[in-house]
Amino acid sequence: MSIPNSLDIPRSKARPPARKAAVKLKEHIVEIISDSGEGAQKCGQLLGAIAAHTGNGIWTTEIIPAEIRPPARSVAGASGNRIRIGSGRITNGGEETDLVVAFNEQVLLGRLRAKELKPNCTILLESIWRTHVDPKIAASYIEVHDRLVAAGYNVHEVPMEQECRAVVADARRGKNMFALGMLCHIYSLEMRLAADQIALAFGKKDQSVVDANVKLLQAGYKWAQTNLDFCYSIPAARPTEPQIVVNGNTALALGVVASGMEICAMYPITPATSASHYLSEIFSKVGGVLHQAEDEISACAFAVGASYAGKCAVTITSGPGFSLKQEAIGLAVMGEIPLVVVNVQRGGPSTGLPTKMEQGDLMAAIFGSHGDAPKVVMAPGTIEECFYSIITARKIAETFNMVVVVLSDAGLATSQQSFPRPQFSETWMAPPVDQSPVPDGAKPYDWDDATGLARRFVPGRPGGMHTLTGLAHDRDSHVAYDAEINEQSLRARSLKLAALQKTLKAPPVYGDRKGDLLVIGWGSTKGAIEEAVGTMRADGHKVSSLHLQFLQPLPSGIKEIMQGFKKVMTVESNWSDRPQDGIIDETNRRYSSLAILLRSRYLVDIDCWSEVKGQPIKPGTIRRVMSEKLKQ
């Protein structure tokens, strides 16, 4: 049902609030979208925080246009936030949207065309455009509105700006808090919590800013209470232990602090940079240094230099920056310098989709840099793992004197999720730099015959003076072009991966260890895959999933797990040729990255399904894919 348009709405004295029974929901997906700079993202972040504090499970996803200021009222300019609120734990963004607040009809069209709205989605639409002085804008608004109503969407026109004008002077900028107030009413959220979150978000500013925003919040709440004929409640199961709610990039930055690393060198790049923004605020408090280098190559070389000097360092980047760092990564491999490289993947190749999600860099991470350059590659699957993977990466880097690549992605970077508050442990941190004299006769590359491991002489250690070189070298670090020495050193650097592999356990299987279909994934798809598998299992299907955190080396035990299933496939967000394309057959099909790795490693006919839409894969999509695979 749609309410009368703005002109007919009595501003102050509305009908007495009807007692609406809140409809109980298990979960709902809410979007707030606006032109860039209208504050929809802030509104969404706050809604997520309020719901989390209520005790709901949440997953928030930013909707980001690629430009800073796309033209106003443009289809491609939708900016905002999408929040999945549930009773229990939420592990991914879920399906299409149930309810959307749109500040104009054009950004709404953008979401509609992206097929992100459920067919019967509830739409709360800013109605100021209906009477706009520009007849074209008014006509466009009316046309879109009428089409949406005809298409069966549950459209409610809301005179947001008009209502806000009664509260503040700059009504256009206050709309987002008005929208937040409406949503607090719609989802029966506590206004006290909302006011607390506003105080936290605007606390750095003047108290008058906080007060104005709280007034707008209350106005929105009241308006919804008076004018909307529905409201919901999503019962919250309070967690039993303290949780923290952060996004993937904040978790990465907190991981850097917790790992004891002292130096982070970076160059601005989307979507990695917000990790460094956060780090730049807090790193110096623990004696850390964030260096913004002149370019990606320099950032990596700087980190290599710091690591060489005894302080294992990290460089954080995204796809194009990762490509640029490859030569310096190869140097760290050759010199056996510990180094953590974080790649928050985005759509590629080239500049690709800077703000959007893809898992396209797995092969570049494993095989990047020329020559044989073995390095460790791991991928967090949750926001929590973003935090802990950095601590693990630092430890592996220093234990094995290796480069560890951590592959996050744009999906994890800006998504928020709650997880148990970490309890700091001193074992997370790097040991102090060894400055003891080097024993007589010790060599800087004294490769262990069984494991390939060598000790490392850090500057400052008396008696350990040598020149590290990117050239082929012998155990004394002397340049050596000798064939035998070259093979010895290649062998040692390769054996280290095997030595690490011996310490890794096979990941747990989600579901039974036997069945009809096993889905294997890596990285940010974990939540969606497991949710899809859980739903399928509840429907009686014999499906399970396996999620790999270590991609290089692959832990042992995977083959045995695969043998328990009739079919095995990977689900990934990187390109694979579609078998239905006429020219594609078994002799030329390019598989998804993980599928290629598993096929070559285990000589098993593993299928793959992939989607590269720049968006996280939805659990419903994975369910459809699994159903089809089961029927084949």
Partner: protein
Amino acid sequence: MAMNIMSTTGCLLEMCDERFELEDYQGGVPRWCTGCGDNAILAAAQRLCRDEGLRPEKTVFVSGIGCSSRFPHYMKTYGFHGIHGRALPVAEGVKMARPELTVFVNTGDGDCCSIGAAHWIHAVRYNMNLTVFLHDNKIYGLTKKQASPTTPIGTKSNTTPRGSYLEALNPLTVTLGVQNVSFVAQAVDWIPEVLFDIVKAAYRHKGLSFIRIVQRCPEWLPDMFEPWMRDPDKVQLLHHDDGLQFSASLSRLYKNQLRHDPSDLNRAREIASSLEPIPVGILYRNPDVPCYEDLLRSDKLRTPELTRAVLDAEFDKYTIRPQGSEKMQA
């Protein structure tokens, strides 16, 4: 080392009678060509280390790729022979991580002025406490005679058989044009006495000391440096009470001298522009430019206690507590 005080007692206290000899800094036997100017630079660096009593284990020479970049292998300090063009960022990382180390950079005209040019500009801006030797022989040597950015126009090389097309880049004017520049000098390898004095002044300057050393390449450009070597008047020595002073014997040979105040940046830029005669000495020195490492590093130590406290404070901002234990949510 004259006395190995470390071996038995493990005592790290510096003893006042500890002295170092040249051999304490001499690493592998240099494999540069006979007559290569790099040998003179190596001798100056080793003499500097000895005279200043630099502890070999606390000293790092960082280089890129090229003839010049073999330098660290011939020292007996710590060394880092990295990748082409990236000596400066590696050295910056070393210095940022361990400010107590003495860090030198060896880079060539290809390494610094071509593939690593971006890092050169920004290294000057960062002004970290490093001593940079630009070994400028005006040609790519290791890859066998290709024109470099500092190759004079018209020079025939393997990539410019009809003569190079472009005017040579002047490393001095470029460096002097960068904001935050704090020390620029020019030396020539064939006047070792002045080369050493410049290296010493550069080492003692706190900040990024950039020395362009015009260095002979007898293999690929045997005639290039001849006119300057034959005619001392084609070299102009810069002297000043706050700069270098030259011995009477040197002044008898090199009569072309100019009094230049190293604090005068505009005059330094003018002098740097002169290709004939070539200026040798300290062009610019400003001890008051802040060092990036001093600006960026906090005085906090990276201890577990501090890390726990800061992490807890950050977690508090994002924490949701179970009902009942409702503490203040930050």
